[in-house]
């Protein structure tokens, strides 16, 4: 292994400098923030010592915003302006949201994603999520005593591109630099695997408030390799509450209630569900607006039987994930349980029966995702120490493809491909002299485009006129390490090249995001210009430091003149960064980035050579 350490790229450039980085579990019901302190991942608590922040945002008539426990307490008095479970609406249109009729909100259907009409005007789920993230960022900055370098934010593994992009935008609005979007079950596997030095194939069964994920991972020699993932982005603990709520309505023989009553009864149903994890019976008691009394008792078995089909619904994705991983239930060494909803005894029982073993419950299902995210954030920020030499290889949950003739979807990148991944496909023109071609990018497993999620439509123009079939149009899909897609198209046959690069969108334009960003900062009483300058300075310093480190480590790869050019750009950047011209710092940063392209390539080649050399040594030892 000594050879590998020649230029270990993930290792801290300057060990004495610890960059502040956090992991955030942005949950349907609760959210948490965690960080690595002295090599140990810990959740950061609020002033009252609580780690969990209820994912509830209230827009008040006085123009203020409350987030968390206080907002949660207001939900029965002000249900329309108090948003819970907003994660269910992220990147979703009106027709995608389940049980929309039993939410108390006033929805506005907008292209791509719903908005919620509040006393402060229509709010996008991205803005609502940003309020939760901002609260966690402020908690972390107060607790760590400085500005954050960045954050890893977790998303359900089964989130599609629109939901991921929406989450990333919410983080941007909250003033967070996103180091990586990390899949929740993968985060849990990191926390579990690193703490227990686990080796073998593990399943992570993650039933959260609003989403269900199953991931199959191979853990070996510090590599976390996701073999397959599956799930249901609209199935979680909320559905169990809802089932119990419907049961109560039915039992108490009451008409569909008002928004306030609905919230009361839903809250009582949730409490009863939680109680049933420890007790064999739970009461559902409340007084409705009409003065009517609801007084019910629900037994554990009754609850299990009315929700049995929900539990069963989680097992189909489990089977699919196992098959995609090429594994059988008996190949699984351990089953890690994640998410508060896995506390329900009948869920644990069903999982135990399926895998033929008791699931692992020696970790807190509420915190494990945030703790894993914190470890990943620490590594990505460059804080890792030599003994934390682990790597994560994740996959995309859903196939990506293009619409072809007859409304069929043709897969370009199949689900469960390890990311980052790129795949190209060639097309040609079907008419003489055709100068443009339209593409429709879709995500999903179904054959018909109408059953898949539409991610983007774009046109390649400027194709030189040729006879039909002569043009060669290469469409390339690239999925980055966050699982986000970009697509480019290029005409290859002629000397003339037409090309286009697109990123899928989900209904928020760049202008809308810019406006939200501005109003968000005003709201929080922060100066956007000052923050932008600070961020640019941090970025500049980060780049300068990394470049200096690279020059020290691998300067001999450069010709003296090339080294001089880089050093010149570096000095320029440092001088500019000392000033307060945000634009100039940005330019100088970009200039140094451009100026180090070749050097970066040479360094990468060197590290690959050392990887191969390292492997050969390993083989000799065997």
């Amino acid at each position: 292994m000594a050879l590998l350490q020649l230029s270990e790229p993930g290792m801290s450039a300057a060990p004495h400098q610890h960059r502040l980085a956090v992991g955030i579990d942005l949950g349907t019901t609760n959210s948490l923030v965690a960080t690595v302190r002295n090599g140990i991942a810990v959740c950061l608590n609020d002033a009252e010592g609580r780690a969990m922040l209820p994912s509830v945002v209230r827009y008040r008539a006085d123009g203020g915003v409350t987030v968390g426990r206080e907002a949660m307490q207001a939900q029965t008095v002000d249900p329309r302006n108090t948003i819970t479970s907003v994660k269910r609406f992220m990147g979703r249109g009106l027709r995608d949201v389940a049980y929309i009729e039993s939410t108390p909100y006033d929805f506005v259907d907008a292209p791509g994603m719903v908005r919620l009409r509040t006393v402060q005007g229509p709010k996008s789920p991205v803005e609502v999520s940003a309020e939760i993230l901002r609260t966690l960022r402020q908690r972390a900055e107060a607790s760590l005593g400085g500005e954050l370098t960045g954050a890893v934010i977790t998303v359900p593994a089964y989130f599609d591109d629109a939901q991921r992009q929406a989450t990333k935008d919410a983080a941007g609005l909250a003033g967070l630099n996103v180091l990586r979007l990390l899949n929740e079950p993968t985060a849990a596997a990191i926390a579990y695997g690193l703490d227990n030095a686990a080796e073998g194939v593990y399943a992570v069964y993650d039933l959260g408030g609003g989403t269900f994920d199953i991931s199959i991972l191979r853990l070996s020699r510090g590599v976390f390799e996701v073999l397959a993932t599956n799930g249901d982005a609209a199935l979680g603990g909320d559905d169990f509450d809802h089932r119990l709520f419907c049961w109560s309505l039915d039992r108490a023989r009451i008409e569909p209630p008002s928004a306030q009553d609905l919230r009361r009864l839903l809250a009582r149903s949730r409490e009863a569900k939680e109680l049933l994890s420890h007790a064999s019976e739970a009461p559902i008691v409340c007084t409705l607006g009409s003065g009517e009394e609801v007084n019910l008792k629900v037994g554990r078995d009754e609850f299990a039987s009315i929700t049995a089909n929900l539990v069963k619904k989680t097992l189909a994705p489990v089977r699919k994930a196992l098959r995609d991983a090429g594994m059988r239930a008996e190949d699984i060494k351990g089953v890690v349980m994640v998410g508060g909803a896995t506390r329900m005894p009948h869920v644990q029982k069903a999982v135990a029966e399926f895998f033929g073993q008791e699931p692992l419950t020696n970790l807190d299902p509420d915190k494990v995702v945030a703790l894993g995210a914190a470890k990943q954030a620490n590594a990505l920020a460059g804080n890792r120490s030599a003994d934390e030499d682990w790597l994560l290889l994740d996959v995309i949950p859903l196939s990506l493809g293009l619409e072809t003739m007859g409304g069929l979807a043709e897969k370009v990148i199949p689900r469960n491909s390890t990311i980052p991944v790129a795949r190209a496909q060639e097309f040609t023109t079907y008419k003489d002299g055709q100068t443009a071609m339209a593409f429709h990018v879709v995500q999903g497993e179904r054959e018909l485009v109408s059953d898949c999620r539409s991610l983007a439509r774009f046109e390649l123009r400027g194709i030189p006129p040729m006879v039909a079939g002569a043009a060669r149009i290469r469409v390339t899909f690239q999925v980055d390490a966050d699982g986000l897609l970009s697509v480019s198209a290029r005409e290859m046959s002629s000397g003339v090249e037409a090309s286009v690069i697109i990123k899928p969108s989900y209904g928020l334009t760049d202008q809308e995001i810019a406006d939200m960003l501005k109003s968000g900062f005003e709201h929080a009483g922060e100066d956007m210009g000052a923050r932008a300058l600070r961020e640019q300075q941090v970025e500049a310093r980060r780049l300068a430091e990394a470049t200096r480190h690279a020059l020290e480590a691998d300067g001999e790869l450069l010709e003296p003149s090339a080294r001089e050019a880089i050093e010149h750009l570096l000095t320029e950047l440092e001088t500019t960064a000392a000033g307060s011209d945000t634009g100039a710092i940005k330019q100088a940063t970009a200039a140094l980035n451009r100026g180090t392209e070749d050097f970066a390539a040479a360094r990468m080649d060197k590290s690959i050579r050392s990887a191969l050399a390292g492997r050969n040594i390993d083989q000799l030892e065997v």
Partner: protein, 177 residues
Amino acid sequence: MSIDLHKDYFELFGLPRGYRIDKDALERSYLALQQQVHPDRHAHLPDAERRRALQWATRVNEGFQTLRRSLARARYLLDLAGVDAALETNTAMSPEFLMEQMEWREAVSEAHEAGDVDELEHLHRRLRTAAKTVEDELAALFDDRHDLEAAAETVRRLMFLEKLDQEIDEALAALES
């Protein structure tokens, strides 16, 4: 020595070019390379290095997937040798082979219609065995006899089997949901 992005996958992974492959060595190389190039290892470094990491990690993933699977590896070997196997267009196969294929198809669709999961899984196992025989044949054609023409034809047969495999998977998935 310079290693560039366009190097062939066998060289990239430090393995001899051939159909028979040391899967453990492939996996070791893959992990060692990803340890170096994966974007997570470069997240705190300048943009240029991060872009380069993205390209490299993508390439390493692609190479691993190509070499790991027998059909993909076989097609890649034909590709490297410049043999146009006309894989998509040439479907001329021996009558016996086609008859066998039809029997397989019928068995799969019957089991699917009957909702017989056990039978589908049984077909799956039988298909694996059949594929194994074809793969052994390929190994001999590529590595011992160096008969690329015959290899190309055998690759086409393997494609049929792969397609069947997918159909069984889809039938199983459809029965589960």
